[in-house]
Subunit: 119 residues, 2 copies
Amino acid sequence: MDSVEIERCGFLCVHEQTVERVLEQMPDDEKLYDLAELFKVFGDSTRVKILYALFEAELCVCDIAQLLGLTQSAVSHQLRVLKASRLVKPRKDGKTVFYSLADDHVRTLIAQGMEHINE
Amino acid sequence: MDSVEIERCGFLCVHEQTVERVLEQMPDDEKLYDLAELFKVFGDSTRVKILYALFEAELCVCDIAQLLGLTQSAVSHQLRVLKASRLVKPRKDGKTVFYSLADDHVRTLIAQGMEHINE
DNA sequence: ATAACATATGAACAATCAATCATATGTTTG
DNA sequence: CAAACATATGATTGATTGTTCATATGTTAT
């Protein structure tokens, strides 16, 4: 009796060895979750616009708000998200807070994304 | 009378010239929207996992489903999204459909993202 | 042709999230 | 100190979205 071989859908078509091999090389679930969370931050046009604006210059919240035609509150909320992901960093000067890109990964990532779009 | 100078919040703090300069160099709204849409696709852990799995090998829907412990339906829905963004491409072989990465931007983007995570 | 199978698709529901409004915090100036 | 101002935050709401379930499409083999 080889009823073991006869299994239900979801296992018949599976390429066992390949799946095995891939499984070994997959990063931890936590890492992959964090990675998705990072990309999620880029996945909003308001935040992308803010980041793109900061490509050119350090800007205060108020500047960004006018630049993009948004509420000060909306911008502040989004900057909070960007800051939490270490994509932008604040510099306080009196009342105003200037934001700039945290590092060059931001530029590289966005540039790479643009390349894909422009194909 | 120079009441023109005295304006409400949202304009007083604005650094005019900088804002001007940045505005000139900003890509079209449409481009920025598309860019955000692209990143949105990466912004889900299921899709990131699928992409990562395809780093190693071409896989059929069924393989991916078992690999990630997901429903065939869920995987199929997500592959549809990935295909629409030209991140994966299908190859049909009889009943089964094998998916693979569409190009190298995917690898580069994910690698870049991982770099940011691992700092 | 019919059964078994791999994938795709449509509708529905729960969860997530960005903008808004109101308000709080903290800084400068008179 | 009080008023003006720049930014931050909390609650709410409308919209978006990933999964599930049921079913449809299309392929292979008997």
